[in-house]
């Protein structure tokens, strides 16, 4: 009797599973069949927002569906992320992120955890640049190291938490001691550096290019060397910490969906976004914003996301 019941249950479960699986496959077949919501978990006008809008502008042409940007800031990106999790796992809601949302969920007890996302791909990975005023005693890597060794903790270096983390990581590996000061935005840190209130600032490439010859690039603290084009815009070869034997900190801009989204759908979405990114019009818009497309597919993007999480866990305590 029990056995029969058990058998029946199993068959029902299997049948349901097959139906669900079949349904998912069916959904993946004609995906995307409706507009996609694109959550920006930060205020309108920031870097994430601009990337999201550039990607969204290519939606109809390359993905076959329009992409609607939805700005949902709050609680260090958690409000937007929680909204993503409240939507069905059907690939019609995605979110753009960077190190900042990862920092938020790793530093606090929140209703969202670091694993509550399936990464679709990485659209860019910028290198943060350590800058100084020209003519200072730390205006190039070697003299900076010499100065920091002679005056431990004297160098004041400002940047946002995500960027300051790169300084903390590289200085820790190099055995240097610096006074890392976190700012709410790159602009505030750069202003304080230009005014001589702090010694150095760690900035995005776009800010570094914007500064022109008012400041010099001391080092690239990112995970890969600068492209030739980037170095040309920065006025010369910027030394990369990777060449000195240190691990730079990647600053990936990733796109994620609900963690329960079927892999077939994620792959289709990945493919569509890749087509948008490869379009010349997208490339030129991104370049105009002082950034570049550095694409990674689903598998390597998920691994990069997890690695970035590990790095944050290691170095965040140094900033607190």
């Amino acid at each position: 009797m029990f056995k029969t019941l058990k058998m029946a249950t199993v068959s029902v479960v299997v049948a349901t599973g097959m139906t669900l699986g079949g349904g998912a496959a069916f959904a993946a077949d004609d995906y995307p069949s409706q507009a996609i919501q694109f959550i920006v978990p930060y205020s309108a006008g920031g870097g994430q927002d601009r990337w999201a809008r550039v990607i969204a502008s290519g939606g109809s042409e390359h993905l076959g569906q329009s992409i609607n940007v939805e700005v949902r800031p709050g609680a260090g990106s958690t409000v937007g992320w929680a909204h993503l999790l409240s939507q069905p796992a059907d690939g019609y809601t995605m979110m753009i992120g960077s190190l900042s949302p990862q920092l938020s969920v790793l530093s606090e007890e929140l209703p969202v955890t670091h694993d509550d996302i399936a990464i679709v791909n990485i659209v860019s990975d910028f290198n943060v640049i350590l800058m100084s005023l020209p003519g200072s005693d730390w205006a190039d890597w070697d003299s900076m190291v010499a100065y920091a060794e002679a005056n431990p903790g004297a160098l004041t270096i400002g940047g946002t938490v995500a960027q300051a983390l790169a300084v903390a990581a590289v200085f820790d590996q190099a055995g240097l001691e610096g006074n890392v000061i976190t700012y709410p935005g790159t602009a505030a840190a750069v202003t304080d550096m230009l005014g001589g209130h702090i010694d150095m600032a760690v900035v995005t490439p776009a800010s570094a290019i914007g500064l022109g010859d008012q400041a010099v690039s001391v080092a690239n603290l990112g995970a890969r060397p600068n492209s030739d084009e980037m170095n040309a815009q920065l006025g010369g070869d910027v030394p990369w910490v990777g060449d000195m034997g240190y691990d730079g900190l990647p600053q990936p801009r990733w796109i994620g969906v609900h963690p329960d989204t079927p892999v077939e759908i994620i792959d289709k979405l990945d493919e569509g976004i890749r087509a948008i990114l490869e379009a010349p019009s997208t490339q030129s818009l991104i370049r105009a914003l002082g950034e570049e497309v550095i694409y990674q597919d689903r598998a390597s993007a998920q691994a990069a996301y997890d690695r970035a999480g590990d790095t944050i866990r290691t170095y965040l305590p140094l900033l607190q």
């Binding site: 205020s43 309108a44 006008g45 920031g46 927002d49 601009r50 809008r53 550039v54 969204a56 502008s57 939805e70 700005v71 949902r72 800031p73 709050g74 609680a75 260090g76 958690t78 409000v79 938020s104 530093s107 606090e108 007890e109 929140l110 209703p111 903790g153 004041t156 938490v161 006074n179 000061i181 976190t182 700012y183 709410p184 602009a187 505030a188 750069v190 202003t191 304080d192 230009l194 005014g195 001589g196 209130h197 702090i198 776009a206 800010s207 290019i209 914007g210 500064l211 022109g212 008012q214 818009l285 105009a288 914003l289 002082g290 900033l319 607190q320």
Partner: protein, 524 residues
Amino acid sequence: MVDMAHVIEAFHLVFAFETMAWILLGVVVGVGVGAMPGLSPAPAIALLLPLTFTLSLPAALGLLIGVYKGGVYGGAISAISFATPGTADAATTVFDGHKLMQRGQGKKALHISLYSSVTADVTSDIITIILAPTLALIALSFGPSERLWLIVLAVTLLGALSGDHFAKGMLAAAIGLFLATIGSDPVTMVPRNTFGQWWLMDGIHLVPLIIGLFAVATMLEKLVELIRDRAARSGAPQIVPPAFGKSGEPLTFREYLSCWKEMLIGTGIGSFVGILPGLGATVGAFLSYGVAKQMSPEKNIGSGRLEGVAASEAGNNATCGPTLIPLLAFGIPGSTIAALLGGALAIQGVQAGPRMFELYPVAIYALFIILLVSNVFNLFIGRFFAGIYARLAVVPPPLLVPVVLIMALFGAYAYQNNHYDVYLVLGFGLLGYFMKVFNLPVAPLIITFILAPLAEESLRRALMINRGDWMAALFTSNLAIALAVFCVVVTIVLARLQVNQRVKTLASVRSDDGEGGERPGPGH
């Protein structure tokens, strides 16, 4: 030096039909967005940014700058008409503007808000164009220590806003201070005073606070009045005044001129606040209003004076041009708006920064011309809107209360697409209502709410830079010392003025008493 050929080319580009049409559209959208509580120019510009991908450079700049200027002015319209500031920077406009409206002088109030906005905007734009590099260098000398003293100075100058009753002013300020500490610690990012609510991690934003304290609180007050009235004369026939009634007298040129002092204060303070990163139009308006009130006690600003509206509106619009100075001089955006305009320029292939004059002279002259021209559009479109809104003065309360409440709650949600903001707005509405009942002034609450985090951040950063050495952190430069001394001097001067005034009032009270015969002595 200035190459006239470039200037002429820029003029041709700006005065083309296409550019003009986009500026016009921008200002219309901006005034509309500004007048709607919860919606403000920055998100509107972010939303319109992709549209500019396909526009020419002058058209793109025209659209965005139009939205910006229209938006900063638009906040005043609903502030005056419904006591509901459309944007946070119009909060001080409510104090005098709405009282004028209730007195049937809404048209005058709307006009002075427009004219003082445009006057201060044009003047500060000219200052921006001529002095951008010099002013930018001055702004750079303000590091964390200097900024701290600047904020302390602002607080001393704003003492006049604490109302007649000192203790009530202090209580309101204390509430503001507490609300400002909710969120995350600015340095270590550790949450504090969030009561375990994760959604409070970013702290409380100014927009829901202002909507709650002004719009919802005022409407609750009106609602209570309505219920009382109805109870008092139940059954009696009610006269419903027409929704579109008399619009009141327009502003005379003499009245406009009589506000010169407040417009001057607003322009000066607004321009300075605009250059410094992170302060913005709201601080500009509050400081200008507070200083104007302080400098002319005889005018009794706050009791429904045109001068009060002029000071507030000049103070916020004067930040518009100068906020671009750090972007143009160093390539660093000092505000969200500047960052968005920098982005729009970048998409057009123009890198904002010190080399812009050299590399893209036509673009920069076009930007300057658009800054000025959009004011003219703002003037005409603002007048048109003011005419319509002035007629709304006599909307009967049974209609006004639900409409404004719905607008306020919708605005609270629209601000960040976040329902928590709606709860906050309702909570602050109740707080604001009880503050009205107990006669607590709102201004000190908002000022401490805005300034305390800035002061804390500056102090903490100054201490971090100086490795915990308080003396070095507070008095790091001659400028910091000078500002500190100035704060002390201002406090002493203001205190003496107040004491003198009290003595005078007391003396006049005594002499009044004297006429009635001698006071009974203790022996009687």
